[in-house]
Subunit: 386 residues, 2 copies
């Protein structure tokens, strides 16, 4: 990770564009909102750090210095373990080629939990743990919405997996599910229903395991939309959520956040125009924004992002309509060249992202500002890759 340059810690008007900007004031408000919501529901919070991949962000998200957190890669687990975190859930189905790394992390005192959804992997885990005479904490993934991975609720596979784990004296810590299809809901009522469905699937599987004599202390659910629209999480022990910390245009399109809550944006410079077309060309393309076009499936397609002033004020109806690797094309939403505002060459703009996880992943640091200021108060590094 590069050392932030001294000039960069000064002012957004001094940095070489494009860079990722984080409004700490908005982020802190997003964190308070989610913590208040989970406190009201009486469940523990295990934030998913895959959105920020930043120790500075995660320390501000949870009070405890050792977790609990959720990670999407073992590189994240390594990174946060290096800062003293020990309560880590790796929430992607474990593979054989990562097992040695998992045991190494556990040998260093990290209570890393892995997940799986099939008997074959349970057998591979059992063999690996026996061979090493080592313990392992495992959660079984449940498919609550047909979105991706997981055991079907009510199926025998759940019990077969638990039996294999028990036979090998592996510790079944609980069940985990993620209502990923909440991102495709079209109303907040639908999200609320999805939240109940997510809870019910996880709680039913936990009960099925317990009825057959298996311990299942933890019932872990979560996504940002279902966490915000949950009204009752009885039987659930913890909630995972990630993108809430920054928010993005997809969450805004869902009605989960307001556009003015979005805490990350990409700072870019105007490099030229195609006046007849009403195009303003900027130096942030899909490399800086990511290729994520999540809002293209929503009621309002926000292109590659919504344009704001340098200070973060949203310029209504001005969007990045197209992007190449290092070029973005900004135009009025209507396509009408007469509605394109004058933005002279060199003008600095900020672009709100479709999907914060994807846009932040393109950058190795955050330029931290507060509210409408342009002063860079800090530069926070972030993790990339595997």
């Amino acid at each position: 990770m590069p050392t932030p340059q001294a000039a960069e810690t000064h002012d957004l008007r001094n940095v070489e564009t494009p860079v990722l900007v984080l409004d700490q004031h908005r982020m802190d408000a997003n964190i308070r909102r989610m913590r208040d919501q989970l406190a009201r529901l009486g469940v523990a919070f295990r934030p998913h750090v895959k959105t920020s991949k930043s120790i500075d962000v995660v320390r501000r998200t949870i009070g405890a210095p050792t977790g609990p957190i959720t990670v999407s890669t073992l590189k994240e687990a390594e990174y946060f373990a290096g800062f003293g975190f020990t309560d880590i859930l790796y929430a992607v189905g474990i593979t054989p080629n990562k097992l040695q790394h998992v045991f190494d992390l556990r040998a260093r005192g990290v209570a890393l939990k892995v997940i799986l959804d099939n008997v074959e992997m349970a057998e591979a885990l059992a063999a690996a743990a026996t061979q090493r005479n080592a313990s392992l904490d495992v959660m079984i993934e449940i498919d609550c919405d047909g979105h991706r991975s997981g055991v079907q609720p009510g199926s025998d596979e759940l019990l077969y997996i638990a039996q294999r784990l028990a036979a090998a004296k592996l510790t079944l810590k609980g069940v985990i599910t993620h209502a990923g299809s909440s991102y495709s809901c079209t109303s907040t009522a639908e999200i609320a229903a999805m939240s109940r469905q997510e809870r019910d699937a996880a709680v039913a599987c936990a009960q099925q395991l317990r009825q057959h004599g298996h311990g299942c202390p933890e019932v872990s659910v979560g996504s940002t939309p279902t966490a915000y629209f949950a009204d009752d999480l009885a039987g659930v022990t913890e909630v995972r959520a990630g993108v809430f910390v920054f928010g993005d245009l997809v969450m805004s399109g869902l009605g989960v956040v307001q556009p003015q809550d979005i805490a990350v944006s990409v700072l870019t410079s105007v490099v030229g125009h195609q006046k007849e077309k009403g195009w303003t060309i900027v130096d942030a393309g899909w490399m800086a924004m990511s290729r994520d076009r999540g809002t293209s499936r929503q009621r309002v397609d926000q292109g590659y992002g919504v344009v704001c002033t340098l200070e973060g004020e949203i310029l209504e109806d001005l969007v990045m309509v197209d992007a190449n690797q290092e070029h973005g094309v900004i135009a009025h939403r209507s396509g009408d060249p007469k509605k394109a505002p004058a933005l002279p060459v060199g003008t600095l703009l900020r672009i709100l992202p479709n999907h914060a996880c994807a846009t932040c992943a393109q950058h190795d640091r955050y330029h931290v500002v507060n509210g409408r200021g342009v002063q860079v108060n800090d530069v926070w590094p972030r993790l990339q890759g595997w």
Copy 2:
């Protein structure tokens, strides 16, 4: 950039997935093909290094140790300058906040050329050069196809820019254009026509400048499709091309490369199944593949990529139909669960990308193999970010 781990330099079966794999044998063949084509056309080659961002790849692309190369960021310019490259074209419209960096690179002996397409930026450059009593090499960008940036051929803007540069004693090195819309062609005949259009626009602008007394020694064109389907580049002095070095599914859909020529792929592990749906879940999602879905606009939509065996053999009609951050969903192209092959948990697969530039950008190194081997002969670092 992380130090490659010793185990990773061994065998693809030992690495933690996902990782980026580069087949050097295929890459070398791609390089030979482009060099032969440009030698036949009698033009110089200035490869665009934005695809590989790797000194190891670029050294194998050109014979000369100092360039010429094209870069998409000043970070690439810095990186290659650090390896002794001096002949560098920065092919994204220059912005005011990058000028100091440009002058710094030039003061270190890098003959860095910048581009622009408007009088305002020419004036800003003139002021900056005068203030520093420094020289600057400039190329004027031409819009040959309405795709993105550039001065319209035949417009007065071209001459106004040249006049401002001349008044400030800045060096006008030539004109540059890029037929980016060649990526959207639907036949090779269309690409050949686009190649002539790209050449004609650049040559006409060079002649316009020369007729008005401006030196215009360089006429730079290029994209991978137009370079391969050019039959006559009279008047052109150099060709830029980037993605040719690896190839990808978009180039394959265009008829520019064959699928078996594609030199980069993402190695991934099977983590589970949804058998009723015919889904195989793998641990490479959009983080490893990028969100690029370039083939979705082509005749054959290849999803997030085409699936190959560990050894690189293409599994016909098996594609990554969906992706989340660290999960990919692999299914038969038809969607028919009965056609989904048995791929046990832990099976290693390689996924060919839609767009090599975008997929490689998600990774910080290449695992280099040769042909159908699984031995990792080398690990080459690559640059990310700005």
